[in-house]
Amino acid sequence: MAFIKLNDLELEVEDGMNIIQVAQQVGIEVPHYCFHSGLSRPANCRMCLVEPHEFFPPAGKIVPARQLATGCTTTVRTAPEDRKLDGKYDFIVRTDSPRVKQARENILEFLLIHHPLDCPVCDQAGECKLQDFSFNHGRGTSRYIEVKNIPPKKDLGPEVLLYSTRCIVCTRCIRFCDEVTGTGELGIVHRGSKNEIDIPRKHDGTPTQLLDNKLSGNVVDICPVGALKSKDFLFKSRPWFMKTVNTVCAGCSVGCNITLDFKDDGVYRLKPRYHEHINQHWMCDDGRLGYHYVNSEDRLQTPMKRVDGSLVPTSWADAFGMILEKLSAVDSESMAIVGSSQITNEENYLLRKLADQLDVGTVGIFGRNLGDEYVYPKFTIEADKNPNTRGAKDMLCQGENEVLEGEPLWTGLSGKEFVYLVNGTPERPIDETECDVLEKIGFLVVQDVLLSEVSELADIVLPGATFAEKDGCFTNSQGWVQRIRKSISAPGQAQPDWEIIQQLVKKLGGDIDYNFVGEIALEIAEKVAGYKDANHQQIGDQGILIST
C-alpha cells in the first residue's frame, strides 16, 4: 500500500493504480478519453494531465514538478524510506491546480479544432464525453478560424458506422480490435491533422476487410465521442428519454452484465456493464442485438386454444379451465412437466412445485439448440445459447428425481397424455423426432413468448414474458446467480411466467402465495443446495457465486 496525498486528501492506495483510478475511488473526476481500464494506455489524448510534486533540493522544499504528467500512465508506488516526501508521503499530486485546469482547457481547444459541433443531430449527445468535459473543463470558445477538415462518413461493417468528423483519434477502438478480439481490423490512415480511423481499403476506397467480428458493437460503447455509432440504435432515441435498468443478457450461458435502455413502448438498447469475473467491459453482438423479439408485433398477447386445428385467442379463465379439466382426466403417470433454460430460477422452482403438486415423475428441460462457440483473446462466447441452463437444472432437480435433457427427454415424453412445456425463446427450431413426439402428445400446453415451432403444435398456448419484462435470477455456466430486472410490461394479457405457474398451482390446491419474485428467491435460498445466500438483496448488481 502506498500513502499518497491527492489534492488535500491523504489516501492509502494499492500499488500500481494510476491517478485516474485513485481519484475515481474518492469521487474526483480526472477527465480522460484514451484511457480505458480494459485496454492498454497509449496516453495520446493528453486530457488527464495532473501535477505531480517532487522535492527540489536547492529550495529545500516540495514543489510542483516542472512538467505535468498524464494521470493514466502515472502509477502509484511505495517509495523507499529515504525518498518519502514530507517524511511520510509516497506521492503527492494535484488534479485541481491552475496549471492543470489551464492544460485541460488548452487540450480541449485542440481536440475541438476539427470537431463539427453537430450535437443537435448527433446520437451521442447527452452521453458524450466531449460535451461533458467541454462543459466542465473547456474554454467555451475557440480561437481557430481556419477551415475545418471534413473527412467522410464511413461504413465500417455490419454493425458500426464511423462519423470521421467527430473522431478525436483516441484509438480506443483500434486497441480493442488488437487486444480484445485480436482481429486488428482498425487502424489510422494518414498523418497529423488529416488522420482518420479506417479499415483496410484498396486505393480506390473499396474495403478489403470489414469490421465484422462478434464483438464489434463494443467499439461503439467505448468511443468517448459520437464517432462510432451503432447502426441498430442510430437515430432511435435521445439517451435522456430512456430509462435504464441493470440486468443480465439472456443470449447465452455466459450471462454478461448489461444495462437495458427502454421507453414505455419497448426495449431500445442493451449495453455491457462491468463485471470483473464474467464479461469485464464487453458483450457480444448476438446478445446486443438479440432483444428485437421483445418488441415484436407478433408477441403472444392472449392465451390461445386449438379449435378445429387452428389456434384461436381465448381468456385466461377458459385456458386454465381446459387445463384443469384435462388434468383431472389424466393420471400422473402419463403427465410430464418440461421446464426451460430460458426462464428464471424462480419460475423453474415453481414448475418443480407444480410437478410435486401433480405428483409427476417426468421432469425435463427444454433448451435451445447449441450455437457456435467463439473464443477471442479476452472474451469467450459460449455455445450454450441459454442463459439459465445451470439454474434450471438446480431448480428442477430436487430430491431423487432426475431431470431429463436432450435425447432422454424426447424418449421420456413420447406417448404422454399431458405435457406442460415452457419455451421462452423465439429461435428454437425443432427437428423431426422432436416434432413427431410433440405431435403425438395427447394434450400439449406451451408457455411461450412468440408463436414458435413448438407452440404451433400446442393445444393451449399461454403468453409469457421475456427477460426484459420480469424479475428473477439466472445462474450462468460458472455458477454466478445474477438478477434480471423488469423494464417494460409484457404485452396485452401476457404475464410473467412465475405468475402463470403460481395461478395454476393455486388452482390445483397448492398452498403457495407469493406476492413478488423475491419471496420465491428467499424460499430457494432456504431450500435449494448451494443457493444459501441467493436472495435478491444479496445478489444485488454484481451477483453471487453459488457454493458447490
Partner: protein, 166 residues
C-alpha cells in the same frame, strides 16, 4: 496479381528481420525493400508484408499512409522532391519548382494523386517535400536518394541532362 519478394531480395529480408527483437519492428526496412522491388506499394504488397511480419494488414496500411516516402500509386523512374520549407523558400525554391514544372511539363504531385506530377513517359515525378535537413545549402532538391544543393535553373538543367544520359 500476388506480390512476392524476389529470389534476390528474400535473403535480404531475412537478414533485416533478424536485426530486430520483434518482427513488427522490421516494418520500415521491409516496406522500403518492397517498394524498391515493386516501384510502389500496392494492396498485394501490403498483404505480403503483413504476412511476412505477422501483423494485420491495417498495421501495414497505417505505416504506408503515414510516411510520404511510400507511394501507393505508380511513380516515375526519378522522383524529384523539391524542398519548400522556410530556408529553401527564402532562397527562392519557388523559382526552381516553377522551372522544373515548365521543363517537365507537369504539375506538382498531390498527396492522393501522384499521377498529376508524373511525366507522360513515366520518367519523372515532381513533388514538394518538407525539410531535407540541408538548410545551409538551400535550396535543395532530392532525386531518388541523391541530394542536389544550391540550386539555380541552370543547375537544374545540368541535373536533368545527367539523368537523361543515365
Amino acid at each position: 496479381m500476388a506480390f512476392e519478394f524476389s529470389e534476390e531480395n528474400r535473403p535480404k529480408l531475412e537478414n533485416l528481420i533478424k536485426c530486430y527483437p520483434v518482427k513488427e519492428a522490421a516494418m520500415l526496412p521491409t516496406l522500403h525493400l518492397a517498394q524498391q522491388q515493386n516501384g510502389y506499394i500496392t494492396e498485394e504488397v501490403m498483404d505480403c508484408v503483413a504476412e511476412v511480419l505477422e501483423v494485420s494488414v491495417m498495421k501495414v496500411k497505417d505505416v504506408v499512409t503515414f510516411y510520404p516516402m511510400f507511394f501507393e500509386e505508380p511513380v516515375g523512374k526519378y522522383v524529384i522532391r523539391v524542398c519548400h520549407t522556410l530556408p529553401c523558400a527564402l532562397r527562392d525554391c519557388k523559382k526552381v519548382l516553377e522551372y522544373l514544372k515548365e521543363k517537365l511539363g507537369v504539375d506538382v504531385a498531390a498527396e492522393k494523386d501522384l499521377s498529376k506530377g508524373t511525366t507522360t513517359d513515366g520518367r519523372f515525378t515532381l513533388m514538394k517535400s518538407e525539410c531535407l535537413a540541408s538548410c545551409d545549402v538551400a535550396p535543395v532538391v532530392m532525386v531518388n536518394d541523391d541530394l542536389y544543393k544550391n540550386l539555380t535553373p541552370e543547375k537544374v538543367d545540368e541535373i536533368l541532362n545527367s539523368l537523361e544520359e543515365m
